[in-house]
Symmetry: C2
Subunit: 488 residues, 2 copies
Amino acid sequence: MLFVLSILSWLMCQVVLSPVPQNGIFQYINDHQDEYVQRLKDWVAVESDSSDPEKRDLVNHMMQLTKDFIVKLGGKVEMVELGEQEHPSGKKIILPPVILAEIGNDPNKPTVCFYGHVDVQSAKKEDGWLTEPYTVVEKDGNLYGRGTSDDKGQILALLHAVEAVNTIGIPVNVKFIIEGMEEVGSDGLDKLVEDKKDTFLSNVDYIVVTDTPWLSKKPGITYGARGNCYFILEVQGARRDLHSGGFGGTVYEAMSDLIYLLDTLVDVKGHILIPGIYDAVAPLNEKEIKLYKELEFNLKDLEADTGISKFLHDTKEELLLYRWRYPSLSIHGIEGAFSGTGTKTVIPAKVIGKFSIRQVPNMNPSVVEKQVADYLQSKFAERKSPNKINVTMVIGAKPWLADMNEPQYLAARKAVKRVFNTDADMIRAGGTIPIAKNFEEVLGKSVMLLGIGGPDDAAHGQNEKISKFNYIEGTKLYAAFLQELASI
Amino acid sequence: MLFVLSILSWLMCQVVLSPVPQNGIFQYINDHQDEYVQRLKDWVAVESDSSDPEKRDLVNHMMQLTKDFIVKLGGKVEMVELGEQEHPSGKKIILPPVILAEIGNDPNKPTVCFYGHVDVQSAKKEDGWLTEPYTVVEKDGNLYGRGTSDDKGQILALLHAVEAVNTIGIPVNVKFIIEGMEEVGSDGLDKLVEDKKDTFLSNVDYIVVTDTPWLSKKPGITYGARGNCYFILEVQGARRDLHSGGFGGTVYEAMSDLIYLLDTLVDVKGHILIPGIYDAVAPLNEKEIKLYKELEFNLKDLEADTGISKFLHDTKEELLLYRWRYPSLSIHGIEGAFSGTGTKTVIPAKVIGKFSIRQVPNMNPSVVEKQVADYLQSKFAERKSPNKINVTMVIGAKPWLADMNEPQYLAARKAVKRVFNTDADMIRAGGTIPIAKNFEEVLGKSVMLLGIGGPDDAAHGQNEKISKFNYIEGTKLYAAFLQELASI
């Protein structure tokens, strides 16, 4: 496959760039869309699955292809080596390099740094794909294939936008951080950002993450994400597992204690029962409620997707408020008890409950940690069981919230209006985006998520796709964004 | 190994039987103890692990050794083939034959049928054995090795007792059912008992199971066992697993519902909260309480064994009443949720709680089934969750309780008194002994468990052993039992 890919790489270098006038950039993009689709096909064909050590050469090859294309666009590229990783199998393997690149270096222009990745999740036809995952297939207006949406398609749209705008001269300084380990936790990236904050990243004014979907078919700009406090609640009973025949009815069972404790955390309506947990939640204002009401979101689509006929909230705005704007608590499972199929009459000696709290501004993980531990200890004391418990917070990722009136947000909103003739949906993520919070904290600069994925792209699932509309109009969106950012 | 075993088998046949007077039977046993230990060594050396298809030949060889020895004792032996089993691996393998044997056939004498087995649980040195599991090592008065207690040692003690008593003529008719699949569920045995009830088993007056431990160092006779109703409680939420970032706070989580339901089953003190569950429990009388008070049982030993410093009950008799005489409910685990190590932020779509109720006379599994289902359905209705639940009882094994004043019990108690100069502990099993209930139901005859294992023999664990005292005095116990049964 590598030989074939080398030929494809050579072919890509034969693209002829022709200058176009500024008002003709959208036309330029329209004229080049077949070429854009072809490049997406070439990139998707590289099976850059970062989870598989056997495919590490392909990830490296993908990094090289990306570098070559940025060089072709006139960029200056550094490939930063990150050293080794220890794979879960115990094998030590070399991490793929991270691309640090720049196009333009004018101190009088603002500098925007885009972050994205060219590695992908694993995909196999037998997982339930209708097409070969690494062969892009165009059908009913969609481009199917692993990485079309997450994130090769989004990175290519951005690079094509830079290429198009550059035909008349790029109006801002553009930097890129493009990695090959995002799908398995971005090994080494935090440290790289820290290391480069006084050099490569010192003059960056804005950070844009180009790895995110919209909420609906309407373009969305993401300005916040919930944090996550993940807890491990351990209950220790006997020294060894016991048999329910010989011991049932005679011992304080660790599993009963754990079930009791887990049942004190959240009620049927999703209300968290831990005292004080809602105290720090930023109050909701009228302006925000209005924002939520204006969002394009259809509950029926969500019902069809999940098979759920009744959600905790009946209106679109309530559901989204509880997805993005309020904390939630989910119980994920229990380690140490019988979890297989069939039957086993064990009284487990030590059981570990796993639950997490998605928190929102202005909650603080260390406060949450204390609230949870104090509450569980007091509930357990009420129970008067002689077993031992231990509460540990193993993840304490902070929520992230940007000011949507920062210049880059205004530029992005203007760009959406120009390309799609509609206002952008200002959206948040219910999950956690550690990279956004990390960029913000380390660099102290405004971070924005401007992606072009659709809400139903199945980024990590079977039959991943991006619509051709999103891919091509998304290219225009990035082009317009670069222009708007220069004039704001 | 087979060649070596054949030589051993040949050596065994060279045992010279010498007649002894009746009052000298105990002396005869004392005189032959080295030979008994040697035969145990020979039998343990055969790795008759019934769980391993690769060792099936060794199980068959063990059946053959057993047959040869019974023939040597003057027994008439039939090897009944049971056909094939489907191993969990999918492989079809031939089941070992079951030995049906008899010594004596005098219509004027009572007939006692002993049941036991000569297959063993798997054992490997690296599991934590201090000695080679299949090489009997004598140390500090114990004989260590897999099967020394469960059940080769007990079967051999019985056969040696028959041999000893037979030197002066056996006073009762003796039959044997000896199998090679007990440790993996006695495949085919129930059907065999059913098939033979009008032929081989038609004239059996008493059934004695020789595969059971004592409660303490004092000899015990087992006259009852709890049953088991095993439940599967399924809660279905969404059609697929969801991510707690995207859905936490917006959906009725199946896991919360399951935790809530499991928490309604039993309180911290082990009291079952299901209405009516205690209604059928046979009332306790003064005589029974006295029986429990007289039992030899040390809570400190149990504490040392389990690492538990506080049990649900503070006295020996209360603890044993709740182990044997009252129902208990244990929650074993949850299938379908996250049960691995580490963290995963899943909202599981479908989760299955597993719990079981050990029931006692006069509880009825079908009544228990209805009580549990009705209760859970009503508790779930109170919760007003839109998720779906399903309650299924997948095992409904009845409790077993014999009349301890039946002749075979009286004979066994007299035998204990004669050999050990103490009254027998009349004990029950907290677990389930399906074979006892099955013999009782199919044959309509009195069943008794008369074993000679010690309470700390680690029957299924590492470093299994039988004390030499139990092995040799146990041989006398069986000999005395045969004599007492004849004279009762």
